[in-house]
């Protein structure tokens, strides 16, 4: 490691026992940062457990053959599932990622650790308040709580507490960047991964301000102090709801680069391209609120077209760029280290038994091929007519948020356990299988959920047999089979998710400590990238790179061409489907 320049004052302010140096990565870890990472990761896992149990209950109800819960309980559990997963699990984990990206990755101390604990407390109180309101039946309003459906004021207050805590962590993150720069804990520009985290944090600030603009008036409305227009509420809520998923996208892509670096020493092909793509996210992603308002009465078509396209699909362009540079970085990283055989030798010789690596690949593939393609397609103004509020919507976002974002988070956890918690990963064989079970199950779940939605099956619906309705209505007979397969996929994913919780909780609380002596070839409980970290490359290694017409990453070039073909096919098939419905306009 190169010398770190410190001012004497800074050195005096930092006794050495506040830091430890990681023997694997050479990074210098600030202990207060480490503790905050742990706390937030544990809170995320608790939320995941609540959300996961809810998921199974919902699944067994939507599987019409089982139809487990009563209606009131179904909508209550559905509310808890959405909030626990999309808000609490994901944002707590992202707080851990933010602390990691500004502290350890920059060899820096973090700003105001005590504020970090205050924020963590505030977020936890908010989360507990919200869960309490939901489970006692005072907030049966689903995650979106569309006005004028009314929840207990404490529910809205809980969300405000949580959001303020998260917002303060973002400011702590920015302050730490200033400290690291001033104390010169790194040379040159920020590492790409931290840059990605900066993008995520900026989007988070935008998102959380929208959250304030939504929930503060809503709280006042709930205690009778002001009125809120239901359409304005929908626009503002989705500026929070969809943008928060874009925090996930930015954080997930940063984690893709990180997992690539950890597992196979994936390189950054071109800093300019990757960073520009992150900037495109910041600039255009908050327009995504429109994706949920495409068949709403309050907005003109020109507003819908401009906004739903993130202004001419510039944020989609960003994702397509990362979708190339991440696998290309893996390919080039391997080629540089001598894996040069053919177009796909780097795929064949990749460490598929490293759960960090398999998570990365599954996350990229399912997010891109299923989540990305369906997302852009169903977010097209007119195509949304045959999609809005059907099961195709959750079919899409379970492929992005669950098998994309959550899968990436899980993959990272297999590195955080040894590196941050200093424990070996328990139940190693199960850990190796976990990503395949989780992403594989989720893939089946998402696809068959989307198919059911294609038949018009509504989302957020307790009983699609309409047993107490004034009229009779039966769905196409295929729907039962589709929902059955969907449930099967969901149960496989639930096993994968359950394993993840078991493995992490067991490793962290009862696991064997990880020491330097454990880093021997074939050791169980440690991912490949920790036992034998990929060696740094030299300029001379570039002789290994191909010089053909498809550039240095010909394998990836083929993969993205296949991706584009799938994208175009699905996209135009949906226009065809739309052309069959009644004339409307």
């Amino acid at each position: 490691m190169s010398t770190i320049t410190e001012t004497p004052a800074a050195r005096a302010a930092r006794p050495s026992d506040v830091f430890r140096t990681c023997d694997v990565t050479g990074l210098r870890l600030h202990r207060p940062a480490e503790r905050l990472i742990k706390a937030n990761a544990v809170a995320a896992t608790v939320a995941l457990l609540i959300g996961g149990i809810s998921a199974i209950l919902i699944l067994l109800t939507r599987w019409q053959a089982v139809h487990l819960l009563e209606p009131v309980m179904f909508y209550r559990v559905l509310t808890a599932h959405g909030i626990s997963m999309l808000i609490f699990f994901i944002i707590f984990f992202e707080m851990a990622v933010l602390y990691f990206a500004c502290g350890p990755l920059l060899n820096s101390r973090i700003a105001a650790p005590k504020l970090g604990w205050f924020n963590f407390g505030l977020m936890s109180v908010g989360a507990v308040l919200v869960e309490w309101m939901i489970w006692t039946g005072k907030a049966d309003v689903l995650m979106t709580s569309y006005i004028p459906l009314r929840a207990d004021p404490l529910y809205y207050l809980g969300i405000i507490f949580f959001a303020v805590g998260a917002l303060l962590v973002c400011f702590q993150f920015f302050a730490t960047l200033v400290i690291a720069k001033r104390e010169r804990t790194y040379e040159g520009s920020l590492p790409l991964i931290t840059f990605g985290a900066v993008a995520a944090a900026i989007i988070a600030v935008i998102t959380l301000l929208h959250g304030a603009a939504t929930y503060i008036p809503t709280f006042l409305w709930s205690i009778g102090l002001m009125s809120v227009d239901p359409q304005v509420y929908r626009m503002l809520w989705w500026a929070l709801g969809h943008s928060s998923q874009q925090i996930n996208v930015a954080a997930m892509v940063a984690i893709w680069y990180l997992l690539g670096a950890f597992t196979v020493g994936a390189v950054v092909l071109n800093e300019k391209i990757s960073r520009t793509a992150f900037v495109l996210y910041i600039l255009f992603i908050s327009m995504a609120s429109a994706h949920h308002l495409l068949v709403d009465p309050g907005f003109s078509s020109s507003w819908k077209v401009v906004n739903t396209s993130y202004f001419m699909y510039m944020a989609v362009l960003a994702s397509m760029l990362h979708g190339f540079t991440v696998p290309a970085g893996v390919e080039v990283g391997q080629r540089l280290r001598g894996v040069t055989q053919g177009l796909f030798g780097w795929v064949k010789r990749a460490p598929w038994g490293d759960p960090g690596f398999s998570s990365l690949v599954l996350s990229v593939v399912v997010f891109g091929f299923v989540g990305g393609i369906t997302g852009v397609t169903i977010g097209t103004e007119q195509i949304n007519i045959v999609v809005h509020n059907t099961l195709r919507v959750p079919g899409h976002f379970h492929a992005t948020v669950v098998s994309g974002t959550a899968m990436a988070f899980m993959g990272l956890t297999y590195y955080l356990i040894p590196l941050i918690f200093r424990k070996k990963v328990a139940f190693w064989r199960a850990a190796q299988a976990q990503p395949y079970l989780f992403a594989g199950g989720m893939l089946i779940f998402s696809i068959f959920m989307s198919f059911s939605g294609g038949f018009g099956v509504p989302r957020r619906h307790w009983d699609i047999t309409f047993s107490n309705a004034p009229f009779e209505q039966a769905f196409h007979p295929a729907v039962d089979a589709l929902l059955g397969i969907m449930a099967l996929g969901g149960l496989i994913a639930a096993v994968g998710g359950g394993l993840y919780i078991l493995i992490t909780v067991w490793s962290v609380f009862f696991g064997k400590p990880f020491t330097e002596a454990d880093r021997v070839a074939g050791a169980r409980g440690l991912p490949q990238g920790i036992i034998r970290p990929p060696r740094p490359v030299t300029v001379a290694d570039e002789a290994n790179l191909p010089t053909g017409r498809f550039g240095t990453a010909p394998g990836t070039m083929w993969l993205v061409i296949i991706f584009l073909a799938a994208f175009a096919t699905y996209y135009f098939a949906n226009w065809k489907l739309l052309s069959f419905v009644w004339k409307i306009g």
């Binding site: 569309y146 040379e187 359409q231 001419m312 989609v316 190339f324 103004e381 045959v386 038949f455 550039g551």
Partner: protein, 211 residues
């Protein structure tokens, strides 16, 4: 990964730097031309984004399905009164306790969503254009026509007037696909579409017991 800065760090800025992972700070000047593969993909992806963007205006121009409509604010009570007037004017029968309304071709037709029913039952004619006004009396509802699979968000205080042309005769369900409270799943309405001559398709007469 372990060798941050081991290779070549501290050289002259002109010195070629080895490729690094995203964990390392790039040394020297990194705003440099992209690899050829990246340039090619950038061009393809950008072109594709333009296609995606062009399709929406194009469909407004050439396509038959658009969510534009006539959109205006309306007091829920005023909309409900308008619906009642519409029912009084054109009711032709009753189905399971709901009035069946057969409006003249080309007219403005109304349906209101309220906890937890769609009111009234509409009887339309195939191949005829109507302007379908949708709104809500209370909370958000979702208008989902089955099995055509046409879906619109219904927001209280807003009137969504959509010009529709039923292109097939038959018996259609109106599912509510926006959560609207504990009776949400019971909220089911009906739209009947007759042939051009005003008769219901033969195989469907059982469900169209219009008195």
């Amino acid at each position: 990964m372990s060798g941050r800065g081991e290779n070549g760090g501290g050289g002259a800025p002109e010195e070629r730097q080895p490729m690094t992972t995203g964990m390392q700070s790039p040394k020297g000047r990194w705003w440099i031309p992209a690899h050829r593969s990246e340039k090619v993909w950038f061009a393809i992806a950008f072109a594709w984004c333009m296609v995606l963007f062009a399709m929406m205006p194009l469909w407004h121009w050439k396509g038959g399905q658009n969510p534009s409509g006539i959109r205006r604010k309306v007091e829920p009570a005023a909309f409900e009164a308008r619906v009642n007037q519409f029912v009084a004017d054109y009711q032709v029968g009753e189905l399971n306790g709901f009035p069946v309304v057969e409006p003249p071709p080309g007219s403005d037709i109304y349906m209101i969503g309220r906890m937890w029913s769609w009111y009234p039952v509409l009887k339309l004619r195939k191949g005829t254009e109507y302007t379908l006004h949708l709104s809500s009396k209370d909370v958000n509802h979702g208008f989902s026509l089955y099995p055509v699979n046409i879906n619109f968000q219904i927001v209280p205080g807003y009137d969504y007037g959509l010009r529709i042309v039923p292109t097939e005769a038959g018996d259609f369900g109106v599912i509510c696909n926006e959560f609207c409270g504990v009776g949400h799943h019971m909220m089911l309405g009906k739209v009947l579409v007759t042939n051009e001559d005003g008769t219901m398709p033969g195989e469907r007469t059982a469900s169209a017991e219009v008195q």
